[in-house]
């Protein structure tokens, strides 16, 4: 197998065994990036020098006898995560030329584990979006059909990993921003329990929901990346101080004794026959692996979207206040400081970001706070309780990751239809639960020529990452859906 197509686990094994050097991996990946970036556009910045320097350090460490869990693994870093000395834009004009003077904890942990940062990946501005179309920095395309979106907001990271421009993509998931692009790009996308991975250095969208996680081509790679990133960080007061059980070494190949809940409220018949059959098949496959399927209810899940679109904008309205032109980022001068604020923010933020700041400001305003923000928090509690009740009957929950495969550019012109893309992923985010998307088959969209991947979403109770990844691994191992098709990139070795 070409170097660039190897999994993170394979690369790390070979680099640790010194049968392959991190420098060779890096050179191969950078050359491939040069070849395909024009089509895919995964990266906002490609870090040639930093990547080569990091690779040389990894080779040096391995030579000195260290074994690194992710030795030489090419990494795509979502551009809302700080990496010292690199431009970090969060997909926004307002930070177009901002260079981070420090490194995010999660990024640092992956670098310490041996990863080599290939580039900063494109994303929806401030992680607000489900298609990557809200980026102010460029267009990212789905490697499986360049006329379609890669999903979002971690669309650049997803496209990079799908197009073999990296083996691990770092994503951040607020309402589905890892799981939906993973589903769209034939990847494993894993959002751990809220607080498992430090948010320090992640440019905040909605602090109570944001969670970093990996996008990878295999479950094992997701587990390796998670194991390297997870754990308490003294720099993040919301990071959880709880023992991390390694997940990569305990992946199972069967589901004997596992009860999997199928959600009555998530009726896949509404998604069309093809998709309905696909999920039916997926649930049967789980059963074939030894799992017992149980019907469960999430009566409040339908309120997820409304709840989310009050809480997330409320938090973002405050989190994004700091982009004011005073200390860093874009500044448009004005007659006085207030005019400077107004002009800077008017020019610096895109329409979706402005929309959410307005919604959030409104929801927090005196006189509306109780009716919107407080009620949304109550609804959030109810949704979390629904999951608790459901997990009294089952160990995991299975449902779609997205209601459709990747759609074409400009297909979702009204914001609400875009918000609906996160219908299946938002409730888990509100409850802080660990959830992932794993490839579960292909459908050819109406009017499309290429089969597009779909994702099965598995959700576990809080802190049950190990059980979650194990189940996904068993499913992946049996079904091998991901390898059915290859990205439709001319220059990709073996591409169609």
């Amino acid at each position: 197998m070409e170097i660039i197509e190897r999994s993170a686990a394979q690369i790390a094994r070979e680099v640790n065994a010194r049968t392959l050097s991190a420098c060779d991996v890096t050179d191969a990946v950078l050359a491939h990036v040069e070849a395909v970036e024009g089509d895919v556009g995964s990266y906002v910045s490609v870090l040639h020098d930093q990547a080569r320097a990091a690779a040389a350090r990894v080779d040096e460490r391995v030579k000195n006898g260290e074994t690194l869990p992710l030795a030489g693994v090419p990494l795509a870093v979502k551009d809302n995560m700080c990496l010292v000395g690199t431009r970090t834009t969060a997909g926004s004009k307002i930070l177009e030329n901002w260079h981070a003077p420090y490194t995010a904890t999660a990024v640092q942990r992956l670098l310490d584990a041996g990863c080599v940062p290939i580039g900063k990946a494109n994303m929806d501005e401030f992680a607000m979006g489900s298609s990557c179309e809200n980026s102010a920095l460029g267009v990212t395309k789905n490697p499986y059909d360049l006329s379609r979106v890669p999903g979002g907001s971690s669309g650049g990271s997803a496209a990079a990993v799908a197009a073999f421009e990296a083996a691990i993509g770092m994503g951040s998931d607020t309402g589905g921003s890892i799981r939906e692009p993973a589903a769209f790009c034939n990847l494993v996308g894993f959002k751990p329990t809220y607080g498992r991975i430090s948010r320090y250095g992640l440019i905040a969208f909605a602090s109570s929901l944001d969670q970093i996680g990996p996008l990878t081509r295999t479950v094992e790679d997701a587990a390796l990346a998670y194991d390297a990133m997870a754990g308490k960080d003294p720099m993040d007061a919301t990071s959880i101080d709880r023992a991390i059980e390694p997940t990569a070494t305990t992946l199972r190949t069967d589901l004997t004794g596992v009860k999997i809940g199928i959600v009555k409220q998530f009726d896949t018949r509404e998604l069309g026959d093809d998709i309905d059959h696909l999920y039916d098949k997926a649930y049967h496959d789980l059963q074939a692996l030894g799992a017992e399927l149980v019907d469960i209810e999430l009566p409040t899940a339908d309120y997820g979207l409304a709840t989310y679109y009050l809480i997330a904008p409320a938090e973002c309205s405050s989190n994004l206040a700091r982009f004011d032109g005073v200390r860093y980022g874009m500044r448009v001068e004005g007659a006085d400081v207030h005019e400077m604020y107004e002009k800077t923010r008017a020019a610096g933020f895109g329409p979706e970001v402005k929309r959410r700041i307005l919604i959030g400001t409104y929801a927090l305003s005196s006189g509306y706070y109780d009716a919107y923000y407080v009620r949304a928090q109550k609804a959030r509690t109810l949704i979390a309780r629904d999951f608790e009740a459901a997990f009294a009957q089952c160990d995991l929950i299975a449902c779609p990751a997205a209601s459709s495969p990747a759609f074409q550019f400009n297909a979702k012109s009204d914001p609400y239809s875009m918000y609906l893309m996160d219908y299946y992923t938002i409730p888990m985010s509100l409850a802080g639960l660990p959830a992932l998307s794993v490839p579960c088959g292909w459908v050819t969209p109406a009017g499309g020529s290429s089969p597009m991947p779909m994702g099965l979403q598995l959700t576990a109770p809080l802190f049950k990452e190990r059980e979650l990844l194990s189940a996904a691994h068993a499913y992946e191992n049996m079904t091998k859906h991901a390898s059915a098709y290859r990205p439709s990139l001319e220059r990709t070795p073996g591409g169609r």
């Binding site: 809302n80 995560m81 700080c82 970090t88 969060a90 930070l95 901002w98 981070a100 003077p101 420090y102 995010a104 948010r199 320090y200 250095g201 992640l202 440019i203 905040a204 909605a206 602090s207 109570s208 003294p234 720099m235 993040d236 007061a237 919301t238 409320a314 938090e315 309205s317 405050s318 206040a321 700091r322 982009f323 004011d324 005073v326 200390r327 860093y328 400081v337 207030h338 604020y341 400001t361 927090l364 305003s365 005196s366 706070y369 923000y373």
Partner: protein, 491 residues
């Protein structure tokens, strides 16, 4: 100082809001040093500059300081507390929101008990004390006078941004400028002695605003209040409140109304002036800070802080005035100077003579401390030696003149006064025979004075006694000398 006119017809109703910077090693939500001054923007990091992606982590020491302050004033420390965001745009506030506390402050209620110069005890209830972070400092340039009006650009120093700040809000229980100062003094000495703040108005670690209104004596309703800002010392607080009360009374007397507004104190003019009239109600859009988890305040922590509380100034004041018989001024002088009070307590404990201890500590020792610019507790004099000195005086082993000499020598580092007395034979001569001998010699050598005395010029007595003291090298018991001398001259 302005006199309040018609004090019998109007009373003032005053509430005070204080911001106190807490004394901690590091800032409230990051590891930057919490220290006054320094080159601009040298005590900053991604967190206190609010760089993208930075997150706050609360400072435990600041929370313990808050609990200590709350307990000192008998406030309730609830089991749960949380931080909220107060959202508004301001260039010296890096996040464009301030992490503060809205509806679940770290302490609720409490009372500040204080005394006035005449010893009257007063009380002012506290509404709450909450914890927040300080802002940076703006400097406006180009206007020549540092004012924002006419300036062409502004510079911001974020060294102070993120310093832990306690906001202490009083109920409107204060009735005069004197009471306001009494309250502030009590607050200052208590917070200082708890070690939670330097409480220095000149460095901005204590800042206060006063809400002032007036009403006819006997009324229970509140008048319209104004908020007075820019008071830079307790003296200006006193002057500003007096001036504002007088202004409001004058307005009402003229049949005009007090307008609710913020007024700035002008130190030079000695008056307050309107800064902005009742702002359009600012909507700060408070909401719980999702970056910070709600705090559970363990009872064990509260009890640990309570057990570590020092003796509070009020209790010390009461001990000094009621048990030791100090007057209000003496007691205040000691209570306001903790190291001196601790020195004093050690002297009293060793000597069991508070009266002499007061005389020496507030008299000779304080004078020496002033002359040498060195605090008593850092001098060579130790409480045990001062207690020895008091014992020597009590036992009449030495007279007060020798005592004064000894205290000077103790200051210079000569050590134990008892040892000096023994080594140099400075013990007072109280043997009448020995003293008579000195007197006889002096009288024999000063016949003219004796004649003068007997002729009615009794004031030569002092001279003669002085000669005896001199002859005895100061050791003669002056009382005995006086008595015997008188007998000899008149007998």
């Amino acid at each position: 100082m302005a006199e309040t006119s018609k004090p019998s017809t109007y009373e003032a109703v005053i509430g005070i809001e204080c911001h106190v910077e807490l004394k901690t090693e590091s800032k409230m939500f990051c590891g930057c040093p919490n220290a006054f001054g320094g080159e601009p923007n040298t005590k900053v990091c991604p967190v206190c500059l609010a760089l993208p992606g930075a997150l706050p982590v609360p400072n435990k020491a600041a929370i313990e300081h808050m609990i200590a302050a709350g307990l000192a004033f008998g406030a309730e420390v609830p089991a749960f507390s949380k931080f909220d965001r107060k959202n508004y745009f301001y260039p010296d506030m890096p996040k464009d929101y301030q992490i503060s506390q809205y509806d679940m402050p770290l302490t609720q209620g409490g009372v500040v008990r204080y005394w006035l110069e005449d010893g009257t005890m007063k009380e002012c209830r506290l509404t709450r004390i909450h914890l927040e972070e300080d802002t940076g400092k703006s400097t406006h340039a180009g206007s020549g006078d540092g004012r924002i009006a006419g300036s062409t650009y502004s510079l911001v120093d974020f060294n102070r941004a993120g310093v832990p700040l306690m906001e202490c809000v009083s109920e409107p229980d204060i009735r005069s400028a004197d009471e306001a100062v009494g309250y502030l003094e009590a607050l200052r000495r208590t917070l200082q002695q708890l070690g939670v703040s330097d409480v220095k108005m000149e460095e901005g670690s204590l800042r206060c605003d006063a809400n002032v209104s007036i009403r006819p004596v006997g009324s229970t309703e509140f008048g319209t209040k104004t908020e007075i800002k820019n008071m830079n010392s307790f003296r200006s607080v006193h002057r500003a409140i007096e001036s504002e009360i007088e202004r409001q009374i004058a307005l009402v007397e003229k049949g005009e109304r007090v307008v609710q507004e913020t007024r700035g104190w002008d130190e030079v003019r000695g008056t307050t002036h309107s800064m902005r009239s009742k702002e359009q109600a600012h909507d700060y859009r408070y909401f719980p800070d999702p970056d910070l988890v709600p705090m559970e305040i363990a009872r064990e922590l509260v009890e640990k802080v309570r057990a570590a509380l020092p003796e509070l100034p009020l209790s010390r004041f009461e001990r000094y005035t009621t048990r030791f018989g100090l007057d209000v001024k003496q007691a205040t002088q000691l209570v306001d100077n903790l190291p001196l009070a601790q020195f004093f307590d050690a002297v009293v404990a060793a000597s069991e003579n508070p009266k002499q201890a007061t005389n020496f500590v507030l008299g000779d020792l304080s004078r020496l401390a002033n002359e040498h610019g060195k605090p008593v507790h850092e001098s060579a004099v130790i409480p045990a030696h001062l207690a020895e000195l008091i014992a020597l005086v009590e036992a009449k082993t030495i007279n007060s003149k020798i005592a004064k000499e000894l205290i000077e020598r103790m200051w210079r580092g000569d050590g134990s006064p008892k040892a000096i007395v023994e080594r140099e034979g400075l013990a007072q001569t109280s043997d009448p025979a020995a003293i008579e001998k000195f007197i006889d010699d002096v009288l024999a050598a000063n016949e003219k004075s004796v004649t003068d005395y007997r002729a009615g010029k009794t004031n030569v007595m002092g001279f003669l006694v002085g000669q005896v003291m001199k002859a005895s090298k100061g050791k003669a018991d002056p009382a005995l000398v006086n008595g015997l001398m008188k007998q000899k001259l008149e007998g």
